[in-house]
């Protein structure tokens, strides 16, 4: 009797999971995009974290655009056209951003060389 009940519950859960995946509510995409948008009122937070009116409005507009079929890039372009490049956390790879993108890798590379040299110098000294 217990086993039958357990199986019935499992079947019920299986169907409920199916129906929630078939909904096109874009909430996952909204979350992903919101984490990449800066809240202009609470400028230390993303739209996803912030509860300011501005954040709530922007999230609503993003969801509206997702439901209308806009892509992630189109939404970023729209927001950048209204609020400037800085509203998007991840900077675009443009010419004026080149240094911003390359310097971390460059420092990482230099650091690697320094570590390499230190290790080899150490080895030489142990003669």
């Amino acid at each position: 009797m217990k086993n039958k009940l357990f199986i019935l519950i499992l079947i019920g859960l299986f169907f409920s999971i199916n129906s929630s995946y078939s909904k096109e509510d874009h909430l996952d995409e909204l979350k992903k995009i919101s984490k990449n948008i800066r809240c202009l009122i609470c400028q230390g937070q993303s739209i996803d974290d912030s509860n300011s009116d501005f954040a709530i409005n922007i999230k609503y507009v993003i969801l509206k655009k997702l439901n209308e079929g806009s892509s992630e890039d189109e939404i970023y372009d729209f927001l950048k056209s209204k609020y400037g490049d800085w509203i998007v956390y991840k900077p675009e790879f443009k010419l004026y951003n080149l240094l911003l993108w390359l310097i971390p890798y460059f420092i990482f590379f230099i650091g690697g060389i320094l570590i390499y040299q230190k290790i080899f110098k150490k080895n030489e000294k142990t003669y």
Binding site: L40, I56, K64, K82, Y83, G84
Partner: protein, 184 residues
Amino acid sequence: MFLDKKINFKRLIIFISTFILLFLLAIIFFKSLKTENVYIPNQLIGKEIPNFASKSLFEDQYLESEKIFINKKYYLINIWASWCGPCRDEHPYLVKLSQNDKLKIVGINFKDKKNNALSFLNKQGNPYKQIFVDYDGSLSINLGAYGIPETLLINNKKIVLLKFIGPLNSQKYQKIIDAINNEK
């Protein structure tokens, strides 16, 4: 001894480079502490505003911006709401500006209730030629709004000349007057 000299020279170089680097970093940090760090979006200044449309606050009329911004005048687009305190504070300036022949004021009623908005205008005066209703905030986002109240001065080519975030005051009022008197 020659080796000592070499090591000392190397150490000196390292010491000087570190000192210079730290000194430069200190300058950068002190400078950054003093600069204004809050980002104010002014993306639309100098650009044409997008077309927008919505219901009017007064009648069950549908308003389209292309049909409103057609005269050879300046337009002030003011985003407001009855529940917004600073909107109340700035309202007298709008009423004063509405008496200026060179200017027409168009309102965008932001996330408000019709009765409250009408009551607000009855008590405070109505400076608006037309009022668009922005139920969900999307119209204001389309105009690059940051919060309310917000005011945009546009010319007859729908180019944004000035943008004011926050309530109007005597200085901002004067800037508007100067702009509409000076621009060709």
